[in-house]
């Protein structure tokens, strides 16, 4: 039956070409794997780099330091020291006055309005808060920090345009020529059209070059028409054309002046962490959203930890192997794959419309997120319970403990680190979840910091979503800043989970 009559077997020849081809295929295949991982890693790095570059400016803000006399008459005429009276005082005009004094040459109404536009509308509130904190300032001269508007802030952060400056060489003379001016210099390094020439406190925008002279229009009137000596004038070049930025040349020159004088300085923007949302980008902060997230997560944790652990204990230890148990298990696996927005629909239809719970409340958000992360926690807890060797339970049963006593006294404590790890990961998931919260109305513009579980609130990811939709470039930066905070929280939570796992990792 077996055919052994086959002639001398063919041996594998050393087919070098084929072997070489096979090894090339091998290297190519391995390269695909490395490339796939590299692409993923590069994407991740680009994402982080993008968020960092966009977001880090959100943690600083530019403030002017203005010397202001805290006028008793305007703030507290009766010297009552009553906070209620101080609160109603006029804090706006002193700032405006002090700021205007820095630019005595600005006289026209339009220019003054433009100048004041550089200040934040919240500057007076800061001043008020400062005086309320320290009423002894009334009647004194104070150095008051004055917040700049978002556009001014963005300009000073260099996010509107790049700025190059060249010192002037030779003497620059200006002669009027109709509407325009003719600038002549006996030095070299002539500017190109679009550049600004600053001299004698004024500024001219170069329109065209003709021979050794420049044709220019006036941006700001100089104090004197006298020629400027070498070094007393300079050329300022903005890399972004005026039309493409929100700060025009005149405003930019004012800000340059403030910066050069050391009046405008960059500081850490604690405001980002201490204030709620605002329509003004420079005043907006994440505290409200952060509180909303914390309240929501408290509800989630309070609900899903006990329920999840109880369910896991039941399924792992007590559930009979019957149809109902099978249905529960299948259900848990399927729930883990239900899109999060569908949980939002559940929250909307059940909790809001049917049970009549308040809209936009952390209570409802927490409920929905609890249902959302429940499968995660149950699955993790079951794995942790399963990892405890049966010998421990058997030992307890052996000394006469009931099944429940064995589980609650011995198995559960040993499984606790695993359960906590799973819970932290579930909470991290809940912290980043956005879609279901949109559905239950936690998406409104809310200025007040929520303090209770039924207050209207947003959450950190929602704040990110809301800000990302706004056109101001400063809000884009705030968005990325909020993302950095969110990622930092997630990083801390995950690191805690990993540490917990490492610390309590047990080899049985």
């Amino acid at each position: 039956m077996t055919d052994t009559a086959i002639a001398t077997p063919r041996r594998i020849g050393d087919n070098d070409a084929l072997v070489a081809r096979r090894y090339r295929a091998e290297r190519r295949f391995k390269f695909y794997g490395i490339a796939a991982i590299a692409v993923t890693a590069v994407f991740l790095m680009l994402l982080f780099a993008d968020v960092l570059v966009k977001g880090l400016p959100a943690f600083t803000e530019h403030r002017l330091t203005l010397p202001i006399k805290v006028d008793q008459a305007a703030i507290d005429p009766q010297n009552s020291k009553d906070p209620k009276i101080i609160r109603t005082g006029d804090f706006d005009s002193p700032i405006r006055r002090a700021f205007r004094d820095l630019f005595p040459e600005v006289t026209t109404r339009g220019d003054r309005k433009k100048l004041m536009g550089l200040l934040s509308s919240g500057a007076a509130d800061d001043f008020r808060a400062m005086v309320m904190r320290d009423p002894a300032l009334i009647g004194q001269d104070a150095k008051v920090p004055v917040l700049l508007s978002d556009d001014a802030d963005q300009y000073l952060k260099g996010r509107q345009t790049g700025v190059e400056k060249f010192p002037g060489q030779g003497t620059m003379t200006v002669t009027p020529e109709g509407e325009q001016f003719k600038l002549t210099s006996d030095g070299v390094a002539l500017p190109s059209p679009g550049d600004i020439i600053r001299m004698n406190g004024g500024a001219f925008r170069v329109l065209s070059l003709s021979n050794a002279a420049l044709l220019a229009e006036q941006v700001m009137a100089p104090k004197t028409p006298a020629p400027a000596a070498s070094g007393a004038w300079d050329i300022v070049r903005f890399t972004v054309p005026e039309n493409n930025r929100r700060i025009d040349d005149q405003e930019a020159l004012w800000l340059e002046h403030l910066k050069e004088q050391g009046i405008a300085e960059s500081n850490i923007a604690w405001r980002f962490f201490t204030s709620g949302d605002s329509r003004e980008p420079e005043l907006a902060g994440i505290r409200g959203a952060l509180m909303g997230s914390i309240l929501t997560l408290l509800v989630t944790l309070f609900l899903c930890l006990p329920i999840g652990v109880a369910a896991a204990i039941y399924l792992e230890e007590f559930a009979p192997k019957n149809r109902f148990t099978q249905i529960i298990e299948l259900n848990i696996n399927n729930l883990a794959a239900v899109p999060s927005i569908v949980f939002g629909l559940l929250g909307l239809a059940m909790f809001l419309n049917f049970f009549g719970l308040p809209r936009s409340a952390p209570l409802v958000g927490g409920l929905v997120l609890a249902l959302l992360v429940l499968p995660t926690i149950i699955i993790a807890s079951r794995a942790a319970l399963r990892a405890v060797p049966p010998s421990i339970k058997e030992a307890a049963l052996g000394v006469g403990a009931s099944h429940q006593q064995a589980v609650f006294h011995h198995v559960l404590p040993l499984a606790m680190p695993g359960i906590m790890t799973g819970t932290i990961i579930g909470m991290a998931h809940a912290l980043g979840e956005t879609a279901p919260l949109l559905m239950i109305g936690m998406v409104a513009f809310i200025v007040d910091i929520p303090t209770g579980f039924t207050d209207a609130a947003t959450a950190l990811p929602i704040q990110i979503y809301l800000w990302s939709d706004l056109p101001e470039i400063a809000f884009q930066s705030k968005t990325a800043g909020a993302i950095i905070v969110l990622l930092a929280f997630l990083f801390v939570m995950n690191a805690a989970a990993i540490m917990l796992r490492k610390r309590f990792e047990r080899r049985w």
Binding site: M1, T2, D3, T4, I6, P9, R10, R11, I12, D14, N15, L18, V19, R22
Partner: protein, 271 residues
Amino acid sequence: MDAMIKTPVAPSAPRIAREKPLKIKARNVDVYYGDKHAINDLSIDIPDSAVSAFIGPSGCGKSTFLRSINRMNDTIPSCRITGNVEIDGRDIYDKTLDVVQLRARIGMVFQKPNPFPKSIYENVAYGPKIHGLAKNKAELEEIVVTSLKKAGLFEEVKDRLDHSGTSLSGGQQQRLCIARAIAVNPEVILMDEPCSALDPIATARIEELIDELRQNFCIVIVTHSMQQAARVSQLTAFFHLGNLVEVGDTDDIFTSPRDKRTQDYITGRFG
């Protein structure tokens, strides 16, 4: 090196080693798994066109040594080997040697039948395909049929070559694995307890097959069963605790073992 190979076989060497040409020569082989010393200073000569059996209690290192012959131990990261293993005088642990081609020359049959989850035809055709042994479809088919015939499986499966290899019975699966191994015409076939997962009837078929294949191949078989070693092999090596205790003609080992441990093992004192 060359001098060693040409050294005439000592008169005390087993008869079979004197009759047949030398195929595999191992000298001073030590194998470590991490800290575990699995094989201790092993030297052996294995003849061509004969069946050599490795016997010994579990964990004695016989499978480990078998896997060292076609460098399957390379797939285990913690494994480390020192010493010399030569096939036809070529050091197989030489850095310049291509392990892929080495394994093509050494077939292997595993303890548990492991047909690929593909058709019977594809299982046997796999080796010839990757090594480019067939110029065309007809030639490939010829190789497949020949191999299945040699493995004594063809008659049973000729009508269902497109069925999955996993649909066969255990004994058939193992013969399929043997067919797969001989399809690339190896010089050596290593068998790691090929019958341990099979029933007695299937085992008898495989043993018959091994005896037939002996004509063309150098066969090395690891077995738990002393009866099997006695039935199929000409040379027997007894391993114990990582040491090669005794090598000799099968008849001699089973009738007059020289070492006390061998004697204890074959009489069933331990193992």
